[in-house]
Subunit: 140 residues, 2 copies
Amino acid sequence: MRISAKCDYACRALTALAKEWPNKKPIQIHMISQSQDIPMRYLVHILIQLKGLGLVTSTRGKAGGYALLRAPKKITLAEVMRKVCGPLLPRASSAAKSESVFATIWKELEGAMSKVLENITFDDILKKAKGIDGAINYHI
Amino acid sequence: MRISAKCDYACRALTALAKEWPNKKPIQIHMISQSQDIPMRYLVHILIQLKGLGLVTSTRGKAGGYALLRAPKKITLAEVMRKVCGPLLPRASSAAKSESVFATIWKELEGAMSKVLENITFDDILKKAKGIDGAINYHI
DNA sequence: TTATACTTTACTATGTTTATCAACATAGTA
DNA sequence: TACTATGTTGATAAACATAGTAAAGTATAA
């Protein structure tokens, strides 16, 4: 089991947008791509999805780009993960088998994950990032 | 993010074997396939992997088959998941990016999952399954 | 009108899941 | 020993999902 690249990218992209909150100026795709080291051509699709999910808004034309639709404090990792990565349960579980022991266990596991992710907002992530960047100072 | 069918199958197969513990007689692949509703040709490969991981043993020839190598009580879901499904972290995370905020968060998440899974042994699963089978009585 | 940046569609590459088949190993029997 | 039924092992390939690329289309500020 793995967190997909797409999910990781989506979270990192949202972090980049959260950094600018509540500025009015939108951020261009290539900026996000550079700062977060995400393949630009792929990021395009992810941002469109995030827009469809009601997490970000977009502006076209010159000085266009993307911006958060809500305050970072109001966006939890749980919401993003659920929307972008989908549920934890295996696809194959049929109706009959949904009564199986493991259906119960996987749901229990999903609950434990949610508990952790509900308590992390993108405001928290910004604070954590500042700590790491300050200590290591890796980026230019 | 999803629990792969393979992981789900592996757990169900181990449950089928756990039911027979500590009988001496090995269980054939087609028996496991039938009772757990797992595609037989695929199950073959999963069992070979489980054998390589030191979870089960196999006997060839007439009356051959598979059996657990340890008591169900001594096998946790955490061990199986870690071995079969691999780590939670996204593959793409490079060395530089491993210092990223999300690398930390994904590890935290993995820890929360482990805590749940460490506390579930295949003995527990057998008991749960009995409860469900007894109540619903779905299988022939 | 024009440059710019988002939007949409189509395509390629890679990896995972599942199915098929031939080769090999073992136990029982004569 | 040789034969045979039964079952494991391993290689290969089709079907599908994911990850990433490319380029033409569309909206908007200047």
